[in-house]
């Protein structure tokens, strides 16, 4: 096995209405999504199909009752909020009080980067369109995870896993990895504590918001390992691991390594390759302690009595992953698997000697370097509002205002993809998953697609009383290889449906 796996990300963006701090953010988020939908929808707007969604299904094998669930845990009831599917197979919608973009299903870390970056461009386009409505105040979007006043919103990852892997194994081997991976994929934050009451810099946007080790919640008592179990695929064969402990990254290398290294660790867990117990004595406390130490020298206690830094803990996983890839694939390992391993090693080696050497690759280091330069030039203490502004504005998605974009534009941050590639992914779906079928149907037969979701496309065909549902339960079917030629050949949705059901 390798870094290849069916996966994707979901990013909630911070939103504000310029000059109106008390503006209704649910309304503002809807304006953003609707502006994009109106501008891009060719004909009728396909709605999201909620039939297969069950957000209260727990991976441990039970359903939480709707009566005891917090209203914020219910996402499957259409509350009249904007919710559209794009021709690239992605979903653009309003979740609570944030605009959110879910990438289509992809199979490689670089494709996660490609479609997540495309999502930033979709959001940028959407915000510009919403702001251009006569009389509208500018809508500003931020790809970050906290307002530094107590509220946090998510950047989630999803990985399809084998149902046969015991969930206890996932918890055991993934927890130390998740606690420590922030040194690679943290986005950096000015402020300590959920409401930022203490001054200083920390590695992760999200660490202070996690309170328990395992659980179903995402909005309260956030767990390091989330147990939501909604595979959007054959539940006999698969589970979907829903990862809520990640920062929203601007840096392409950060996202690439976040997803690539996690995919490798999941492969090792499925193959029962991890025989060492890297379990931590106090995972939640360690998560915060690591985040609060940008020198990366904080030691955390393992159950076996050892004390390691987060970088050393990551090196344990790297060492295992190298052996695993050598033993199972050897010279047959694909380019991205080898590249993820090489970059992971390179970054960890430099983090151990001097973290600031990673300022061209990792978000938290790039942000910290910029903050330190300001501190030195202007003699600023950590409580200076200007440093908090730099933290916030690093995540502004506008190329002219966002500080990540200013740094990347000057060549000070490494890119993995060019702008043309990312722009293409705003419109064209990935070719190797069912997102290809979904995206192409929306692009070619927009008039006849009534609704769609991860696991279905629903057609409204002339001459038929009822809607026709085409299930797409297997994430790897509906790829270009399977249906590309068929869609090319069918000029109408009726022809396609007839061919599919013949």
């Amino acid at each position: 096995m390798s870094v290849r796996r069916v996966m994707g990300t979901e990013i909630e963006y911070g939103i504000s209405v310029a000059g109106q701090p008390m503006a209704n953010q649910m309304v503002a988020s809807s304006q953003v999504v609707n502006a994009y939908a109106s501008a891009t929808a060719k004909a009728r707007r396909a709605r999201w199909d909620f039939e297969e969604e069950s957000p209260l299904r727990d991976a441990r094998g039970f359903d939480m009752s709707r009566q005891v669930a917090d209203p914020s845990q219910l996402t499957d009831e259409d509350m009249g909020l904007a919710n559209v599917i794009l021709t690239n197979g992605a979903r653009l919608y309003v979740d609570h009080a944030h605009p959110e973009y879910s990438t289509p299903e992809v199979t490689t870390p670089l494709d996660v980067v490609r479609f997540e970056k495309a999502g930033e461009q979709v959001m940028l386009d959407a915000a510009r369109r919403a702001s251009a409505v006569p009389g509208a105040a500018p809508l500003l979007l931020y790809k970050n995870n906290t307002d530094n006043k107590g509220a946090s919103y998510g950047a989630h990852e999803n990985y399809l896993m084998r149902r046969s892997t015991p969930f206890a194994d996932i918890v055991k081997h993934l927890t130390p990895f998740f606690v420590s991976r922030q040194v690679v994929c943290g986005a950096g934050r000015v402020g300590i504590g959920q409401d930022g009451r203490d001054d200083g810099f920390q590695i992760s946007q999200r660490a202070d918001y996690f309170e328990v080790e395992v659980g179903l919640e995402t909005t309260l008592k956030r767990p390091i390992i989330n147990t939501r179990d909604e595979p959007h695929a054959d539940p006999e064969k698969y589970r979907r691991l829903h990862v809520i402990i990640g920062d929203a990254n601007l840096s392409e290398v950060s996202t690439y390594l976040k997803v690539g290294t996690t995919a490798l660790v999941l492969a090792m867990i499925e193959e029962r390759f991890i025989t060492r117990d890297l379990g931590l004595e106090t995972p939640v406390a360690s998560l915060r302690a690591i985040s609060h130490d940008p020198t990366c020298t904080e030691l955390v206690g393992l159950l076996d009595g050892r004390k390691l830094t987060a970088v050393q803990l990551q090196m344990e996983y790297l060492d295992l992953a190298r052996k695993y890839v050598d033993e199972t694939l050897g010279d047959d390992a694909d380019t991205q698997t080898r590249d993820v391993l090489a970059r992971w090693e390179s970054v960890l080696t430099r983090l151990e000697s001097d973290p600031m050497q990673c300022e061209r690759e990792l978000d938290w280091v790039a942000k910290k370097a910029l903050l330190e330069q300001y501190r030195e030039r202007d003699g600023l203490a950590w409580d200076d509002a200007k440093l908090a502004l730099i933290d916030l504005q690093y995540a502004d998605i506008r190329p002219e205002k966002g500080l990540y974009h200013r740094l990347a534009g000057r060549g000070r941050i490494e890119r993995l993809l060019d702008d043309v590639t990312i722009e293409g992914a705003m419109h064209d779906p990935p070719e190797d998953t069912r997102a290809y079928f979904r995206g192409r149907c929306l692009e070619k037969y927009a008039d006849n697609v009534a609704a769609a979701s991860w696991d279905s496309v629903i057609f409204d065909l002339p001459g038929r009383e009822s809607l026709q549902r085409v299930p797409t339960i297997d994430p790897l079917r509906g790829s270009r290889t399977h249906v590309g030629e068929l869609i090319d050949r069918c000029d109408t949705a009726e022809q396609l449906f007839a061919a599919l059901t013949r």
Binding site: S16, Y374, L389, I390
Partner: protein, 65 residues
Amino acid sequence: MAQEQKQPKKSSETEEAPEVAPDAAVAERKEQLDEDIDAILDEIDDVLESNAEDFVKSFIQKGGE
């Protein structure tokens, strides 16, 4: 240049003359880097939102997820 001019005065204390060249090169690189950083900070000064305190204070979000 400044480094080289200072050298004769120090010659009585040490015989480190051969190391002047690398030192000068490092100093030059550092100077280049500092200039580069100054240019970036100047550019960022121009795009930073005015009134940092008010701007940061008014960024209030509801929780998500």
